[in-house]
Amino acid sequence: MSKLAAGLAAVVLALSACASGEAQPDDAEISATVFAAASLSAPFEEIAADTDVNFSFDGSSGLVDQIAGGAPADVFASADQRNMVGAVEQGLIAGEPTMFATNYLVLVTPAGNPAGVTGMDASLEDAKLVVCAPEVPCGGATERLAETLGLALSPVSEETSVTNVLGKITSGEGDVGLVYLTDATGAGDAVEIIGIPEAEGDPNTYWIAAVEGGDTEQAQAFIDLVMDSPDVLAGYGFGSA
């Protein structure tokens, strides 16, 4: 029995040794661990190119779950207000969240617009429309937009993420999709963008905050870096806060 216990202890020690490979903070550089919404991956990687920042990109609600479960984050950047509020309510945030960027929905069609979509109007009725499911942030924004316009949308698919919507359009499977301008910009020539004035008037907001229990000094250094980089964010289609 003691042999068994000793064996178990050895395995546990070996496992914990594997897990403790974390970098020590370096005064000269920013080395925060940043949990950020997937849509921020391109601008954040560029902003942090010269630092030691570690990123984990995922859906905002998934990230809140991970932080609540004890994941070692210093900074949380959310793609909508709802998830940041959720994080604050769960006591996961140190200090006040800051709004740092905006984004709004646009229509995208495959190159050439084969279904002849003209905007958020009757032209959608004969087209295969792909949207986000109401459960995810982009779907919530889609629902609000449809309500504002008094339109009853009849999508052929409600996808689990905005990238899945975009994929259905770039592959030509769907005729038209509702995605964020940033995603549409990232898709380049594969899609055509049709703007929606009503969506621009009610943008989705991006929030950033230090995580409770994390390294707040490092966190603030990264947040300052983001706030000082509106040009990078604009280059990817984000609006200023």
Binding site: K3, L4, G7, L8, V11, G59, S61, K128, V130, A133, E135, V136, P155, V156, S157, E158, E159, T160, N164, G167, K168, S171, G172, E173, G174
Partner: protein, 260 residues
């Protein structure tokens, strides 16, 4: 008497804990009191009916295509046999999202076959047919590989005797080969059904996600996780129970085959 070294117990315990604790943890979080109400909600019923219906059709297709496929593979000689066997096995180890992409570029609107179908007015994307195709694609290899192995190990002596007695190949198949292979077919079918039921990545990539049309149980669970984790856990429990039942039945059949 020592049949294995005593230190094997340590990794045994760790391995068992790794596999069993998450399942038990899930059981602890399932909202048992609300289970009946949750599972009879419209969303849950839509996902359950869709998953069950598509999996039954997919499993029938797997049987219709898989049994002859395994038979030809098991009874043929030549360089092409191993090539075909590799092709048939690949979907089993393919990441599901890659399977979905492969199906998309084949049956999608601009795909190899889909483009011609589209010209005839047939479009598979976003339909329940796409779900069935994805499930069949990922489940078929499970039946073929397990049945081919069984057919090879059972040998051909009975078929040879029947042939010498003047039976036609078709008659031999129905009266000799099929009855001998029945346990292997049954356990292979059970595994295929389980794989079809769990299909997620290929469906998401290829078929889309709409309640009652393409949103099967795994897709619904993935989506509900965002907002309604109680219902997500309740539906997960359904999949776990079905998985346990299938593995139990399949193991029983295999033991019976070995003993009998």
């Amino acid at each position: 008497m020592h049949r294995f070294p005593r230190w094997a117990w340590a990794p045994f315990a760790l391995g068992l804990a790794l596999l069993a604790v998450p399942l038990l943890g899930m059981m602890a979080r399932v909202p048992w009191g609300e289970l009946p109400a949750l599972l009879t909600s419209e969303r849950a019923l839509d996902a359950l009916t869709l998953s069950l219906g598509t999996c039954l059709i997919a499993t029938c297709l797997v049987l219709l295509l898989g049994v002859p496929l395994a038979l030809v593979l098991a009874r043929s000689r030549g360089w092409w046999v191993s090539v075909v066997r590799t092709l048939v096995t690949v979907p089993m180890v393919l990441p599901p999202v890659v399977a979905g992409l492969a199906l998309l570029v084949t049956f999608g609107r601009r795909g190899l076959i889909g483009a011609s179908l589209s010209a005839w007015g047939v479009e598979i994307g976003f339909t329940t047919i796409a779900v069935v195709i994805a499930q069949t694609f990922v489940a078929l290899p499970f039946l073929v590989t397990s049945l081919e192995g069984a057919l090879k190990s059972s040998g051909e002596q009975y078929e040879r005797v029947a042939s010498n007695l003047g039976a036609s190949p078709s008659r031999i198949f129905w009266k000799v080969t099929l009855p001998i292979a029945l346990p292997a077919i049954a356990s292979g079918t059970a595994l295929s059904f389980a794989r079809a039921l769990g299909e997620f990545g290929a469906t998401l990539t290829f078929a889309g996600s709409l309640q009652g049309v393409t949103r099967t149980l795994p897709l619904e669970i993935y989506l509900l996780r965002e907002t309604d984790s109680d219902l997500a856990l309740a539906l997960s429990l359904v999949l776990i129970v079905v998985a346990l039942a299938i593995v139990f039945v399949s193991t029983k059949i295999q033991n019976w085959r070995r003993d009998g």
